[in-house]
């Protein structure tokens, strides 16, 4: 019994220090601790009712070059979901804006989620507000809220959702409409949108089926 006392005292001390937050200071950097780090709890999804007049749907980078069976399987799996959302948005006369990156054009977008005549299309990397007139396109139509879907979750979707939030838009992100074949990257993009300083206050996470028009 005696010999367990120091151990018990050490455990009690450790618990007390942990509770005081003292042990959470870094002993090592995050790379050293990597394998022991647990994901934070998942964010809560919310039902959303969309105001058709002031909301735009952003369909980001649903391109054959990044959304394919080699390195975009989850993106391909999200296409029917994105198409359902697109059909609902068009039926409710929402503004729909499409994007690509690099040298891709509108023709590189998957047919089932491709723009029809007159729907705006912008080209940029990641944050589609940078180097495009996306902000003007939205402001000219009185848009206050954007729905963001596309790939990659940690690229165009995260970059553009963050860019929109920082420009004062409310942002709706159906998590089943954004994707990355790297699940850790998709998970962290979703968690960050729900928790990052400044932007998270503007972002609502949902699913396509939880959205009403």
């Amino acid at each position: 019994m005696k010999s367990t006392r120091p151990l018990m005292a050490a455990i009690a001390l450790t618990a007390a220090l942990s509770a005081a937050g003292i042990l959470s200071a870094r002993a090592a950097n995050v790379i050293d601790d990597w394998a022991n780090i647990q994901a934070a709890p998942p964010p809560t999804l919310q039902p959303v009712t969309v105001d058709a007049k002031t909301t735009a749907l952003l369909m980001l980078d649903f391109l054959h070059s990044n959304c394919n069976s080699e390195h975009g399987k989850r993106c391909i799996a999200s296409l029917p979901i994105a198409k359902k959302l697109l059909d609902e948005a068009r039926a409710n006369h929402l503004l729909v804006v499409y994007s690509a990156y690099g040298k891709n054009t509108e023709k590189d977008i998957w047919d089932q989620v491709a723009p029809t005549g007159g729907e705006p299309f912008v080209v940029s990397f990641l944050d589609k507000f940078i180097g495009t007139d996306l902000n003007k396109i939205l402001k000219d139509k009185g848009i206050k809220t954007v729905i963001v879907v596309g790939s990659a979750a940690n690229g165009a979707a995260f970059g553009t959702a963050s860019g929109a939030a920082q420009r004062g838009y409310s942002v709706i992100v159906p998590v089943d409409g954004i994707s990355s074949d790297n699940l850790f990257a998709e998970q962290s993009a979703v968690w960050n949108m729900a928790n990052a300083p400044v932007i998270s206050s503007k972002i609502t996470l949902t699913t396509v089926d939880m959205m009403k028009f």
């Binding site: 995050v30 934070a40 399987k73 799996a77 296409l79 940690n154 165009a156 968690w191 928790n195 400044v198």
Partner: protein
């Protein structure tokens, strides 16, 4: 035998269909449903860095008492001695240093150990410190091509300022022991994002403050 070949053939065909040769009908689950089963990707490698003092600036973001304190961000307070050392080395080598604050904070809210010296610029903005400030001009006027980004929050000022710097064409050095958040999960995915996110990853070098040489 014939029958088994037929079954085998159907099996191969089904496997080919399911494996993504054609689009699967729908995703079985979303990332929230899969949450508990997702494992961290492998850690990125850290690199030693030698910086050019003439074209490099050190950004020290939001090391202010309201953001960086024992109560809410003990990991930030723990990073201060290493940041003080890095700041001293940068000044010794005449590297430009820029500070930031957020919200209604002033330069007086920055920890005294690493506070701006007279003449060192301080910008004020949320998250992305290039937004609504003249940070880009401050850097470009001095011919800066590379920024060392340190600060808190890792998923706020550091993530968004480093990302914007990369968008604007600056090379970014991230000493990971200088980017802190309220928990290690945040720091982990920010570091991972710098190493793997499209475009940004090609502009960011991950290191530690001790691995930076001037």
């Amino acid at each position: 035998m014939r029958q088994s070949w037929l079954v085998c053939g159907i099996g191969i065909l089904a496997a080919a269909l399911l494996s993504g040769a054609t689009p699967p009908a729908a995703r079985a689950a979303n990332v929230i449903d899969d949450w508990a089963n997702i494992k961290a990707a492998p850690p990125p490698a850290l690199q030693s860095v030698t910086v050019d003092p003439k074209t490099t600036a050190l950004l020290m973001l939001d090391f202010t008492h309201p953001i960086c304190n024992e109560k809410t961000k003990p990991r930030c307070v723990a990073s201060l001695p290493a940041m003080k050392k890095l700041l001293a080395e940068a000044r010794d080598n005449h590297v430009m240093v820029v500070f930031s604050t957020a919200g209604n904070q002033t330069p007086k809210d920055i920890w005294a150990d690493i506070a701006p010296a007279p003449g060192e610029p301080v910008v004020n903005s949320h998250a992305n410190k290039f937004q609504n400030t003249d940070l880009e001009k401050i850097l470009k006027d001095k011919g800066i091509k590379t920024v060392i980004v340190t600060g808190v929050n890792a998923n706020g000022a550091v993530l968004y300022t480093a990302s914007e710097a990369a968008f604007l064409g600056f090379k970014v050095i991230d000493p990971i022991n200088g980017s802190s958040a309220e928990n290690e999960y945040i720091e982990q995915y920010v570091v991972y994002n710098f190493a793997h996110a499209p475009l940004i990853s090609s502009m960011v070098t991950l290191t530690t403050s001790d691995m930076i040489k001037f």
